[in-house]
Structure formats: C-alpha cells, structure tokens
C-alpha cells in the first residue's frame, strides 16, 4: 500500500514569492492534516480536513496561508507571500479514524527555505 505522498521534497524561494505544496493521502483515509515542523520542535497543526471540510483551521495564518482539499482526496497548501519565518518542514498526514483518535500516517515532508 502506498504511503502519504508529498511534493516537492525541497523548495527554495525568495521572500514575498508564492509557494505551494501538494499531498496525496493513503487511499481511503478521510482525514487529512497539514503540520508545520521547525527544527528541534514537534509538529504543529495548521489545518485538519474531514473529507473535503476543514474542521480545524484555527492555527492557520489565513492572511498568507490557504489550503484546499477538493473532492476529499489530495490537498494543496499555499503560502503567498512567503516570509523568512516560514522556513520549516511542512508535513502532511492522514488517518482513517474520525475525530482524531487514530494514529497518523505522515509523508516525508516538504522542506521550505525562504531567502
């Protein structure tokens, strides 16, 4: 069974440029998460989807970040414009349990460097 697939793995951009990350979850997993992970820290939730509905986006900086999960399968996270402080690893995870009580399966992450 294929795992969670993320792309690109690495991205280097100048500040104020836009960037987008893509995630394809494990087949059949209705819950999808985007996390941000800074060096030496644990993942921090940005947004959680149940199917195509964003059920928790309270930590998403909506002035510059946006996300979508059309058709309830793959998802895109966008940053526009990027700032120096956005340099981090963006992790996508999926789960087959509703209500966030099951284990999460993570992708390998997209490492963003903003210059």
């Amino acid at each position: 069974e294929a795992g969670v697939v993320q792309s690109p793995r690495y991205k280097i951009i100048e500040k104020k440029q836009p960037v987008a990350f893509w995630c394809n979850p494990i087949s059949g997993h209705n819950t999808l998460y985007w996390y941000l992970q800074n060096l030496g820290q644990g993942p921090e939730l940005l947004i959680r989807y149940e199917n195509e509905e964003a059920v928790d986006d309270s930590q998403l900086p909506k002035d510059r970040f946006s996300a979508e999960r059309l058709k309830g399968v793959d998802s895109t996270l966008k940053i526009q414009p990027a700032e120096l402080g956005d340099s981090a690893v963006y992790l996508c995870a999926s789960s087959s349990y509703k209500g966030n009580t099951g284990e999460l399966f993570f992708g390998e992450g997209s490492r963003l460097t903003v210059l």
Binding site: G40, G42, T101, E103, F106, E108
Partner: protein
C-alpha cells in the same frame, strides 16, 4: 490548554545501555497518547497508542507505559539503529493533537 513536555531533550547511550524517555502531559479528556519515531529528513513513524492509565505496549526493544500524568518509553538494550527522535503526542476530548518537542536519542556502538 493541552501541554506535552518531553525529557530529556537529548540522550546519548552506549549500545546495550537501557534507558527511559519521559512524556508529561496535561490534557482535557485524554482520548489517546501516541509515540512516534522520526528519523532525520523523514516524517514521524507511528509506534504506539495508549488509551488508559496502566496500559503497556511493546515492540521489539521498545516498551511504552501510561499513567494519569505521564508516559514512559523504555528502550531495552538499544542498538545503533534505534537512534532517532522520539515524539510523544496526546489527543484530547475535542480531537486535537498536541505534540511534544521530542527526545533525540543517539546510540553509539
């Protein structure tokens, strides 16, 4: 607000030298406590879920235990391939996950 604190931040072990990692938590209605392993440049990999105080789970050289305030991850006779960052996370009654900062474990031959 849910909080998860892991200690120590880093741990250096000789091969075969057993030790324990701690995860202290405060959460409004624990729905599950999770342990993950993360290798450099990779996403976290699921290890265990614990649901209630007194529960224990084992996998190879790893054993996770849970009390009402903390969880321990015991590493018995570690090998160099056990080197990784170990993350603890809790899910609360609202279904929100909170991760700790992790413990970086290095096992030397």
């Amino acid at each position: 607000e849910d909080q998860v604190t892991q200690s120590p931040e880093a741990l250096r072990l000789q091969e075969g030298e057993s030790s324990s990692l701690n995860c202290s938590y405060t959460v409004s209605g624990l729905r599950g406590l999770f342990w993950y392993r993360q290798d450099p440049g990779k996403g976290p990999e699921f290890l265990f879920t614990l649901y209630s105080a007194g529960e224990e789970k084992e996998k190879e050289r790893l054993k996770a235990t849970l009390t009402k305030k903390e969880s321990f991850l015991h590493i018995t006779a570690p090998k160099p391939e056990d080197s990784a960052t170990y993350l603890c996370a809790v899910a609360d009654s609202w279904g929100k996950f909170q991760f700790g900062a992790g413990t970086q474990v290095v096992v030397t031959p």
